[in-house]
């Protein structure tokens, strides 16, 4: 791979890592606000933590947040006091993350990296649907 191609993929890894860590912090904030959702949100946190871990391992020089959520970010993004609304918001955010990761997968110069990014996009899409379906189930 050419050096500038590698550089662009490193930049992509950095952006993707930021997106995954932001999603993780949002889910953590929701779990903190709504304790009853913690059993459901735990597996989702695991998904995004796994994504962040792989991105850090693949590109250790990529600047990233610490593994703990940025306390200012957690307190800045307001979580709805209504748990259903909070879950719907997470669903929407997962949808956006999936779209972003799809675009990144399309753009990636490395085929192997594109494959991983597409997997991350698919995972976020699953989370979006799962959150939405669970919200509909509890609303009945």
């Amino acid at each position: 791979m050419r050096a500038d191609d590698a550089d662009s993929d490193v930049a992509l890894a950095s952006e993707t890592l930021a997106g995954e860590e932001l999603m993780l912090s949002r889910i953590q904030a929701t779990a903190q606000r709504h304790h009853k959702l913690r059993p459901r949100l735990g597996p989702s946190m695991d998904v995004h933590a796994a994504h962040a871990r792989l991105l850090r391992e693949a590109a250790p020089d990529v600047p990233h947040e610490s593994t703990s959520p940025d306390p200012t970010l957690v307190h800045t993004e307001k979580v709805s006091p209504n748990s259903d609304r909070a879950m719907r918001r997470l669903s929407l955010q997962e949808d956006r993350l999936s779209l972003t990761n799809r675009q990144s997968a399309f753009t990636a110069k490395s085929g192997d990296f594109a494959r991983v990014l597409a997997g991350m996009a698919a995972a976020a899409a699953q989370q979006a649907v799962d959150f939405d379906q669970r919200t509909r189930a509890t609303s009945r």
């Binding site: 998904v47 698919a122 899409a125 699953q126």
Partner: protein, 141 residues
């Protein structure tokens, strides 16, 4: 894997998916399991459309589209509702893996097609009873 090989693999996967969903669709009792019947019907239509699209894509890439097998082995007897759902889920999981590989071996429009197919397959798996995972279609992660 060359882009053409990747597209041929995806086409082969779709031939199998169309066959399996065709069998499943004929066995799901619509009155007793309307939700599963609808899912299978939608999946069959989707996979058939992808098969046709991939046939075009392979030709555009300069290849002769791989033909469907005469028949395919189902993962189980596919008689009970549970077996039918498991057979459908297995089909989507295989498709997801093939499309993940296709993403890695293609570019531009072909890659976009594979990305969209992977995401669709991953979401479809949820409806068939799978839980959400960190890397749909990438079993080694």
């Amino acid at each position: 894997m060359t882009p053409l090989q990747a597209l041929q693999n995806a086409l082969a996967g779709e031939h199998a998916a169309v066959y399996v969903y065709g069998v499943i669709g004929g066995r799901v009792p619509r009155s007793a399991a309307p939700a599963l019947a609808a899912q299978v019907s939608t999946a069959y239509t989707t996979h058939r459309a992808r098969r046709d699209q991939l046939t075009t894509m392979v030709r555009a890439a300069g290849g002769e589209p791989v033909a469907a097998e005469v028949s395919y082995q189902l993962p189980n007897d596919a008689r009970s509702l549970r077996e039918l759902r498991v057979a459908a889920l297995g089909t989507e999981q295989r498709c997801a893996a093939v499309y993940a590989d296709t993403v890695g071996s293609t570019a531009r429009a072909n890659r976009q097609f594979a990305i969209d197919a992977l995401v669709d397959s991953a979401v479809r798996q949820l409806g068939l009873g799978s839980r959400a995972v960190a890397y749909p279609g990438i079993p080694e992660l």
